[in-house]
């Protein structure tokens, strides 16, 4: 536009007016508190005043047995939580999307809508509904297993230390599978017809067409899904809290960073809340998420070839 190439022009107030509300709210409620939280992790409350302690809080978190046992446990659980999502949610999501996108499939709108239903439900509903279903009191789960003759496999999964976390991860997968499915579905639909036709002329059809033609083309979407899953998982809290409470039982076996942060910040039962340690845990979570996002942006995204049609 000509107006913009003129060397001297009056200050365009309308730009500032358009930007101001969003930037102000975002800065005041998100960026500054985020910076404040990072800063708080370097201080400690001694005699009602905040004293700068450098990285001492982190040393406590990593080394002091009162904190470190719970911290490493939560981190380990969180990594497992993420691994289950990557191994189950994304492959199943890709499979469903591939089936949905096959041409001339009937009722595909119905399937799409139905499979996305769990994603819109709140964690409270999901957590409680599954708690009831898996509860040995109600007996729905053993009942269902009985249909397929596997009743002997049933145990109260949410109540056993060795199964509870995996069971809850699978519940979370159940809830969020709609997102990878939709994103992959969208990516598959955007593959141009000519590419598929060219493949078919070369005799590549069916499964090998999926592996050799479609999968490489949807890799960028799989990358996006992976980073979304990563951020979502290392920030998760609600499902564990509703299903197992803030103590993330049995015996902290389902404790992840989100629930650990909540207990550290607010205190629970005998433990007194400590904003500085809460901020320290939040900082660790921030660094983990930032690290994941950087790996994605600089290592993965730049290597994935994007095909422009």
């Amino acid at each position: 536009m000509a107006a913009q190439t003129r060397p001297k022009r009056p200050f365009r107030w309308h730009i500032a007016v358009f930007l101001a509300p969003a930037v102000l709210v975002y800065t005041a409620i998100m960026i500054l508190p985020l910076a404040g939280t990072l800063q708080l992790s370097l201080f400690r409350n001694v005699d009602q005043s905040q004293i700068f302690v450098g990285l001492d809080n982190f040393r406590t978190l990593f080394g002091d047995p009162n904190w470190s046992v719970n911290f490493w446990n939560a981190l380990r659980n969180n990594v497992w939580f993420f691994i289950i999502h990557m191994l189950v949610q994304n492959p199943v999501g890709v499979l469903l999307a591939a089936l949905l996108s096959s041409p001339k499939l009937r009722f595909s709108a119905f399937y799409r809508t139905a499979i996305f239903v769990p994603t819109i439900l709140s964690f409270v509903i999901v957590g409680f509904a599954w708690k009831l279903i898996l509860s040995p009191l109600w007996g729905v789960a053993p009942h269902l297993l009985d249909f397929v003759g596997l009743k002997s496999l049933f145990t109260p999964w949410l109540g056993k230390e060795q199964y509870a976390l995996t069971a809850l991860s699978l519940v979370s997968v159940w809830q969020f599978i709609g997102i990878p499915m939709m994103l992959i579905y969208a990516a598959l639909l955007s593959i141009p017809e000519e590419v598929i036709e060219a493949a078919e002329c070369d005799g590549i059809t069916g499964l090998s067409q999926f592996w050799k033609i479609k999968l490489p083309l949807i890799l960028p979407s799989i990358g996006i899904i992976s980073i979304l899953t990563f951020v979502g998982n290392f920030n998760a809290f609600d499902l564990i809290y509703t299903a197992q409470g803030a103590l993330a039982g049995p015996n902290y076996s389902t404790d992840i960073l989100g629930t650990f942060l909540y207990r550290a910040f607010f205190g629970f039962q005998l433990q007194v809340g400590d904003p500085n340690m809460g901020a320290t845990i939040a900082t660790i979570m921030f660094l983990i998420i930032l690290g994941g996002v950087c790996v994605y942006l600089f290592l993965i995204q730049t290597r994935l070839r994007r095909y422009q049609f």
């Binding site: 930007l19 469903l96 096959s102 900082t283």
Partner: protein, 279 residues
């Protein structure tokens, strides 16, 4: 499309897998709603059958409506969701317009700054947000929640809306300028009506996490007057652990409004995901 991709066994296989997964996805929802209309004996005796005249009972619903203050919680959730949505859309569209329409120094930087919030969750700032709200006396008010959700929703809204605003024709806007319209009139009268479909998409994306959030109501507004449905349901369910009728009825009451809204807006939502997300 060759004949091979349309062969019958393949189609049947696809339907079988999709139907199985649909059943898995819907089963818990159906189960909860079905059993909420049954008596206690019916719930435990035959959990997998729909209510029969013999087991039909509304005791759960009468307990919930008698005990919990759900109408009030519902209003709170509505105020918070609609309020945040309004500000996210208004502020988000304004900022998106500024970023996509004008070239000025720091434009790219501003875009990146606002995009930061897409990847970094606002939840990590909770400790300082609570301090801020305590200092400004906003704890236990719905305003606090609206502010937080507005900040949470803005980054994605700006990102998506500026993609769409780039597509609005320059000629149209310039014609408006020649006719002497101010930049504000151009935005509100010309651009906003044209990007309304994408604003609806953003609205749906923004709405679901706000309505379902448990973390911020729990931390910023746990008082009786400001409880949202999600928090109210959580506490209510915790109290009634042994009253299965009440729990199932409460769960159904929490599911139904969301489900109805979803059925109405699902086309919008799905179109939004499948068009905007691949960029």
């Amino acid at each position: 499309m060759s004949i091979a991709t349309r062969s019958l066994p393949r189609t049947i296989g696809a339907h079988a897998i999709l139907l199985t997964y649909t059943a898995i996805a819907l089963f818990p929802v159906v189960l909860v709603i079905m059993n909420s209309f049954k008596s206690r004996a019916g719930i435990f005796g035959a959990p997998l059958t729909p209510p029969t005249p013999k087991t039909f009972d509304l005791i759960g619903y009468t307990t919930v409506i008698g005990q919990g203050d759900f109408i009030h919680y519902f209003q709170n959730s509505l105020v918070v969701t609609v309020g945040s949505l309004f500000f996210v859309l208004l502020f988000g569209a304004m900022a998106a317009f500024a970023l996509s329409e004008y070239r000025f120094r720091g434009n790219t930087l501003m875009g990146l700054y606002l995009a930061l919030g897409i990847m970094i969750p606002i939840r990590l700032a909770t400790v300082a947000i609570l301090q801020l709200m305590v200092a400004s006396g906003l704890v236990n008010t719905l305003t606090a929640l609206i502010l937080v959700y507005t900040a949470q929703g803005l980054p994605l809204a700006v990102f998506i809306l500026s993609e769409f605003m780039k597509q609005v024709s320059d000629d149209l806007k310039n014609a408006g300028r020649i006719d002497g319209l101010s930049e504000y009139t151009i935005f509100f009268r010309l651009v906003v009506p044209l990007v309304r479909p994408s604003m609806a998409t953003v609205a749906v994306f923004t709405m679901i996490p706000i309505w379902n959030d448990l973390w911020f109501p729990l931390i910023l507004a746990p008082s009786e007057e400001t409880k949202t449905v999600t928090l109210g349901a959580q506490l209510f369910l915790g109290q009634f652990v042994t009253n299965w009728n009440a729990i199932l009825a409460a769960l159904s009451l929490a599911i139904l409004p969301v489900l109805i809204l979803y059925v109405i807006f699902s086309r919008q939502l799905i179109r939004g995901i499948t068009s905007g997300a691949v960029k």
